[in-house]
Each structure stands twice: as structure tokens, then as C-alpha cells.
């Protein structure tokens, strides 16, 4: 089944995320902590970006700015041209459903729904497809991630890796142009991490824009662009060598087979 965003490849190179002088501060008790200290960056459509850095340096906070889950204390965040601060919480929820898919570290599948229902759920919110079409697309996505035989199982009945793959399928439900993943392999073993990463690469090859927060430097190096956050500022923003990516992928697979 074709996705219904096939014009993405034609938009490659256009800015999909624009961040300007974003500052984020938190108040804990009597202290004010600055987590982001004036970050500016652009991400183009079709890019695969890894955001790296040590714990507590602001990676997830930056990601929350991009998804609209959190708001900057100062500065602007635009995604697909939409200034996120203009939207109310409810409007943001609806906008997210149509424009991006989010993959969480702890999968965050709804425990009350089976895998098929979890994937159908975002489509129910957006209501672009008929109920029959939603089911068909959900089955297609679950087959794509290798979970068609587990589609009636509850999240508690499948492994962590399977849950994460289902979460990826859910993130793709409305065929969003942008996929955002916060430590998607943080709770997975090496082999499964490799599978998930390969999936992301495949999606990127299809024209999706991917932004992935990870603390795994090796994984990050496989990603074409890496942004390192340190003390709330961009320390490094560079493209990794494509050959390094291929070599490291092989090493990961070898390690996984041997384990």
C-alpha cells in the first residue's frame, strides 16, 4: 500500500524544522536551571539527524521543543512552517497527529489496546481514512515491521523489541513526514537495536525526515548528521562519513549474530 505523502521526496531540501535562539529554563524548588541556552538550528526535509550528548545536557528537552510537548522559555520553534507557540494544547495534539510520529524510549503503547488497535488509534484521531482503510493500513504497517502474527496481542504479551517496532508502526500510522524518536533503542538489546535502526534507515530512504535522540555514539555515527548538545548548547553539528556507517552496521550485525 502506498503511503499518502509521496510528495515528500519532492520536498527534500526544504526546511522542516527551524529553531531560533531557543532558551529553556526549569524551576525546581528555589533554583532555576537553564537546560537550553540559545539553540538555533535547521533540519531539512529528508534528513536523518541524531542528537547526542551526555545525560542532563538537554537532548530530550530539545526534542520536546520540536514535538511541541514542551515550550521554550524564549525563542521560536517552527515545524513545517507552523510556529508551535501559536497553537493551544488541543490544537497541538491534533497537529501532531497529522504532521509527526513520535517514538518513545519506553514504547508507551496503551496497555488496554492490542497492537493492531494501538496502530489504528492515531488514524482514528485524524479521521482521514475510513475505518476499513485504517485497519488495512495498520495491518500493512505491522507486516512491514514484522508483527503481523502478533497483531491481536496486548503489549504486555510481547517483548520490548516487538513493542518498539509496534510503536514505530504507530508513529507511521498517518504517514507523517517527520518521525521523532527519543532514545528508541535505550531499552533494547543490541540485535533489536540494530533492527530498529535499520527500520529507521529504510524510512529515511523513503523520504521521511527522522530526528533521533540517542546516547549511543556508535549508533549516532551511522546517521548522516549528528548534533551534539553540551551544557544546553550545540557543541557539534556534522555529517558522519557514509562508509563509516556501512562498516559499523556490519560490526553491529556480526556482534548480534555471535551473541
Amino acid at each position: 500500500m502506498k503511503g499518502y505523502g509521496t510528495d515528500l521526496l519532492n520536498q527534500s531540501g526544504q526546511k522542516i524544522v527551524e529553531i531560533r535562539n531557543v532558551i529553556k529554563q526549569f524551576r525546581t524548588g528555589e533554583m532555576v536551571v537553564s537546560v537550553l541556552r540559545g539553540i538555533s538550528l535547521d533540519i531539512n526535509a529528508g534528513e536523518f539527524v541524531a542528537i547526542v550528548g551526555a545525560s542532563g545536557n538537554g537532548k530530550s528537552t530539545l526534542l520536546n521543543m520540536i514535538t511541541g510537548i514542551d515550550h521554550p522559555s524564549a525563542g521560536e520553534v517552527r515545524v513545517r512552517g507552523q510556529l508551535l507557540s501559536e497553537l493551544s494544547e488541543n490544537q497541538l495534539a491534533g497537529w501532531r497527529g497529522e504532521n509527526m510520529g513520535i517514538v518513545f524510549q519506553f514504547f508507551q503503547l496503551l496497555p488496554a489496546l492490542n497492537l493492531l488497535q494501538n496502530v489504528i488509534l492515531p488514524m482514528d484521531f485524524v479521521k482521514r481514512l475510513s475505518p476499513r482503510e485504517r485497519r488495512q493500513r495498520a495491518e500493512f504497517l505491522l507486516e512491514m515491521v514484522g508483527l503481523i502474527d502478533q497483531m491481536y496481542k496486548l503489549p504486555s504479551q510481547v517483548s520490548g523489541g516487538q513493542q518498539q517496532r509496534a510503536a514505530i508502526a504507530r508513529a507511521l500510522a498517518n504517514d507523517p513526514p517527520l518521525i521523532v524518536a527519543d532514545e528508541p533503542t535505550g531499552n533494547l538489546d543490541t540485535r533489536t537495536s540494530s533492527d530498529v535502526f535499520n527500520l529507521f534507515s529504510h524510512l529515511n530512504d523513503q523520504g521521511k525526515t527522522l530526528i533521533m535522540v540517542t546516547h549511543n555514539e556508535d549508533l549516532a555515527c551511522q546517521v548522516p548528521r549528528t548534533i551534539e548538545i553540551k551544557n544546553g548548547q550545540i557543541e557539534r553539528d556534522e555529517n558522519c562519513n557514509q562508509s563509516n556507517r556501512t562498516q559499523l552496521t556490519s560490526e553491529l550485525e556480526t556482534t548480534a549474530v555471535g551473541s
Partner: protein, 804 residues
Amino acid sequence: MSVIWNKVWYDLRHNLGRTLLVVFSIAAGVFTVGGIFGMVNQLLAGMDIAHQQVAPSHINIILRNYVDQAVVDGLKSVPGVVDIDPVNQISVRYKSGSQDTWKLGTLVERPDYENQTYDVVVLKEGSWPENGRLAIERLSSQHFGFEPGDQVTFQVNGAERIFQIDGKIRHPFVQPPPFGGQAHFFTDATGLEEFGIPQGYFGQLLVRVDDYSLENAQAISGEIRSRLADQSIGVVVSLYQDPEKHWGRMFVEGITLVLRVIALVSLFLSVVLVLNTLTAVITQQTDQIGVIKAIGGQSGTIAALYLVLVLIYGLLALFIALPASAVFSFYMSQWFLNLFNIDYPNFVISTGAVVLTVLSALVVPLLAVLWPVLKGASISVREAIATYGLGGDFGSSRFDRWIERFGARFLPTVYAAALGNMFRRKGRLVLTLLVLTTAGVTFLIVMSLISSIERTLDNEMARTRYDVRIGFTGNQSIPAVLALVDGITGVETAEMWYSRNATILRSGEQLRDSAGLGAQLIGIPAESQAYQPVITAGRWLQPGDGQEIVISENTAEKNNIAIGDTITLDLGELGAAAWQIVGTYRAIYGSGFLVEPIYAPLQTIAEVTGQIDQGTQLIINGKNIGTLSQETELSDRVKSRLEAADIGLDFYTTSAKLDQRAYADNQFSTIVSMLMNLAIMMGVVGGIGLMGALGISVVERTREIGVLRAIGSRTSQISALFIMEGVLQGMFSFLLALPLAYLLAQPMARLLGQRMIEIDLDFAYNFPALGIWLALALVISVLASSLPAMQATKISVQDSLSYA
């Protein structure tokens, strides 16, 4: 339909314990509302309908002399009189074959049982009394054990006569025996003649007027009295009866008011439980709410999910509570109505109660949870899913730090941890404490109501400083009687009182305009200490008083008679005189079947009426009398001496003090047991609330429990944490309930006293109940926290660390 609605079904069945807890919590409150309001509706309507069906007379005139049919027919021409049904009712002494002691009863006669006009009695079993045989009243049969076919011995003109019971009759106006009513027998004219009343003569007139109002009935009664007076026929008293409302309504309305209040409190408590539980569920599912919003779901959808969940809880509760409350209200109504001798065989459902039940089950819980649902649904994604560690925000406020320091300084570690845990969710703590405290306050108030009733009766008894009162059938010489009883073993002091039925006329009202007020005038010796009622205004009688009287507070209020007013007492052939009111007293006993006494100096009555040294009641104070049997023995010794001297005794006005106390206790026992049961139910509801809150707490703290296990905490220590938290909440609620109950108990006691018996109860705060509630609160807390504590101990490290 969106797949998200599967979450509702999952939430219902996945945590079945919680679902059942919530459903039964709502059902308990709804059941109480539906059951009690349904019972009240049916009870009051049933009483009034049964009352109207017997064609109740508007005026019951008790005559001093017997009259024939000609006199009765003459009275029918009084303007406003529709008809008059003449009847007889006399006091009798009886005993059954197995008894040795005589008892006081009532014998009723109707000239024609087949063609009654007013206050219709109904044959229930056997046959109408004829040819001198008897029938027994239905309630009397149940209570005293008489059946058709039994024989009863009566004292007739000093001799014993045996009569056979042929039938069972229902009389609409008998005082229920459980409330102190006497046995009622029925006879015909032939049978009554055996007791000295000629056939065709009547001592009571049942009158109906064409346009009933109390004023109109009083006016017509006055005219009747006047015409009777012209024929030298005296009237003892005129009793008035509302044709639409049952005579027992006032008493029932008082009880049902309290029951309705408690039903609403119960509903409130159950709704608070639902609110507590749903708040905890939303808190527990905050991350799911965040995820739903992160993938496109909006606040409206989330709010609808939880509201539908509550609606389903309500529907399930309604399914349980509606039929249960309908059955309860019918059978309770039937039981109460049977107490008042009213049949209620056909199952009836109160429409009003059904509506209330449905609203209580469906609408009230929804309204209660609306705010937390909307608040939960509006939570931002960041707040919902950006949590760290084990959720440790306790300690961020000054109050939290004070709690922590207090616990660290004064308590062992486990208790200190439990104390801190208790304050982590302050909102839930407030709700749980609200439930427990309300339960405690209600319990303490009910116990104080009971102790106030007890104190009121005790005080009344304390003011009755004699042991035995013996009435005479006619006037007796005071010196002669006192000489007779002097020297009888056990008699410490004796005095004589004079009593006479009287009519009170208010200044300005002529006899023809109003029948006045029926009363019993009692003359007491000036120096008497035998009786000193509670004076509510003015003063009691004093030595040296002349034409001064003390009347009941009830009579004064109802008829706008004030201290200092002058009224006329009409004593029939003994004449009328003006008296000044110097005080009002509180009358406890008397339920509409008795007229309330008015007290005057004995000497003054003698001077006014010419009845010098005459008395009608002997008042005896015994030596070392402490039990009813001792009082009865003393009474029997005195009565034997008097009877030996051919002095006629009126057993209707003879009584022992402790008998009177037992009679009063009987009257209140039904109310007391009902209140006790409701107080206990409040305690149970409070315990359920605590159990629910702690259960949710266990689920929320699953990760924390796993961490505790991982760092060495044993099962007993984890269990102790939760049990101690429950006990601390129980103790807090106890401390909160104490002052609240103290503040509220007195106004509640006043309200109950006024509504039920139209007096202010002597308030007594039930201090022993504090100890009982403390023990109950401890037991409830331990029991309620045991199950959650057990659940907590079953959580393994692996389970908890994989919990997210």
C-alpha cells in the same frame, strides 16, 4: 467507533477489584437513598390512605355521663354536624388463664358492627362479638398472645368473669403495644351490660363535621358541649382528628427526617469514594493520557473516556441498587405500617424514589468526578509523561519538610515513612479523611443522640420522686387514706393528689364559641417534693400560691398562652374559675392518646371547688426501692390494704415509676436501634473508602515497592508501611471528628427532639462513645489496610522494575 473505547472495557475488567469496589460504593449510597426515600414515601402515603379509609371521625367526645340514642339524635341537629356515631370504650382489668396478675386493658363496644359509620373497625378473623362474647384486637393478639377460642378472665364488679374470644378485629386507633399500648377487646351491648353499662347507652361520641378545620371542629364541639351541659351531661375531653393525616404521622416524620439526612450523608460518602478512586485512576494513567495527546488525541476524547467509565460504574450500581432498594423500601414500609396496625400487602414501587435512585447512580457520580476528569484531561503532554525516578515531589513544601522532621525526630523509621507517605498525595488524603471523619462524626452524633434521649428520660425520672401512684375511682378522704397506709411495710412517705378533667377556656372565649382545651387538672400539696418537672418558663408551684397553675410548654405554644395570662378552668358541675399561669413545664410522655396535666395547688382547688380534704390519687415513696419488682410488691401491699377497706381503685391511673420508664424506653427503642445500625453502616463505608485509597496507593507505588525489596526490605516491613499508613489516617480522622461531633451533636439533638416529640432533649455528649469510635477506627483502619498491604507484599522486584 474509535478503538480508544476499548480502553474503557479494559479498565473495567482488568482491575476487577477496583471496579467492584467503585460499583459497590456507589450502590451502597444509591441503595440507601432509594430505600429510605422510597420507604418514607410509601410509609406516609400508606398511613394517610389507611387513615382515610376508616372514615375517621373529626371529633371524639368522651362524656362524663352515659347518654341514650335520643340525646345523640338531638345533637345531630347542631349546625355543621354531618353525623354522630355513638360508641363505648372503658378500662378493664383482665388476666389470661396462665397469669396471676391483673393487667389493664380496654373494652370497646359498637352498637352495630355490621353498620359502622366512623372509625370503622374491620373483622380479620372469626366472627363479630355477639351474645356477650368477645373479639380481640389484632395487634393485641400478636403482642399479648390471645387467639380466637381463648378465654380471658375479667374483673367485673369485684368478681371474676370468664369470656370467650370469638374473633380478631383491626382497630385503626390503638396505640401499638410495642410502644406501650394496652390490650384491646371488643364486645357487644350484651357483653358491656355485664360491666354495668346498660344497653343503648353510650359514653363516647364520634362526630363528623361538614367542613373540617380545627377551628370549625372546635366551634362545633363547643356547641355540642353546651347542649350537653344544658342536659347536665358533662364532657371529659374532646379530641380532634385530621381526616387526611394519620395520627402517628408526626412521630414518623421525625424519624424519617433523620433517616433522610443519613441517606444523603451515605450518598455523599459513596460519591467521595468514587471521586477518590477516579482521581487515583487518572493519576495512575497520566502517562497514557500524555501518550494519547502525543499521537493526536484531544482533551475532549480523554474526558469522554473517563466520564463514560463512571457512567458504566453508575449503571452497574443502579442495576444492583434499584431492585434492592425497591424491595427494602417496600418491606420496611410494610413492617412500619404493620406496627401501626395497617395492612400493606401489595408490592409497590415509589416513582419518586426511582427517579432519585437513577439520579443518584448516574448523575451525581458524574457531577462529582467532572472536575478531576476535566483537570486530568487538560494535563499537558509534558506534565503527563515527563516524570523522573520514583515520583518524589514530597518535601518540596515547608509543610512536607516539617512532617519529615517530626517523623525523623519522634517516630521509628517505619512509622516516619508511613507518615510521610500519607502526605504525598494531599488531595487524596483530604478525600479519604473526609470520608473517615464524616463516618466518625456521624457515629459520635448518633451516640450522643442516644445518650441525650437517655439523659432526658433519666432527668424526667429523677424529677418523679415517688415510686407508686394509685388512682381511685372516686374522691376519697385524704386523712382516712393516709391513715390506712401509715405503717404499711416499705412505705416511707405518702400524700394525696386530686385530679379532675377540666376544660381550659382562653380569656375572651365563651363556651359556645370553642370547645376549649381538654386537660387534666392535678392538685398537688404545696409542700410536696414528689414531682418537680423541668420548668421551661416561669416557675413551679410554691407554698403560698393561690389560683396559680403550671401548664405544659406544648399546650402553651400551640395555643399562644403566655406566662401571666389568665385562663378559665371549667370543671363541669364543680364550676369554673379563673387561674393565672405562672409557669410551663416540659412533658415527655403522651403521644396524642393522653391529655397533658396542668398543675395547681391542692389547697386552692379544694377551696375553689369545695372538695375539702378530697383526693383521687395516692402517691407513695418507698424505702430502698430499686427494682420494678420491689415497686410492684409495695404497690400490691398498699392496694390490698385499700381494697380491704372497700376503696375503689382506678387501675388506669395506677402505675409504678419504673414501669413508666420501661414504657418510655419502648417508645424510643425502635429509633435507637435504627440510628445505631446507620452509625455502624457509616463506619463500614469509611473503611471501604480507606481500603480503596490505600489500594490505589499500592498500585501507584509499585516501582517504589520493588526498589524497597531490592535494597533489603522484608515482607513484614512493607506490610507494616501500608498498615501504619492506614492506622495513621484512621487516627487523624478520629482527631478531626472529635471537635466536629461536639459542635454538631447538640444542634442535631435539638432538631431530633423537636421533630419527634416536640421538646428540647437534655443534651449529653457521649464521651464513652469516643473510646468506642477510637477502637472502631483502629479496627477499621487495620482491616481496611490489610488487603492493600498484602497486595504490596506480593509485588516482586522484577515485576516492579518492568512496570512503567
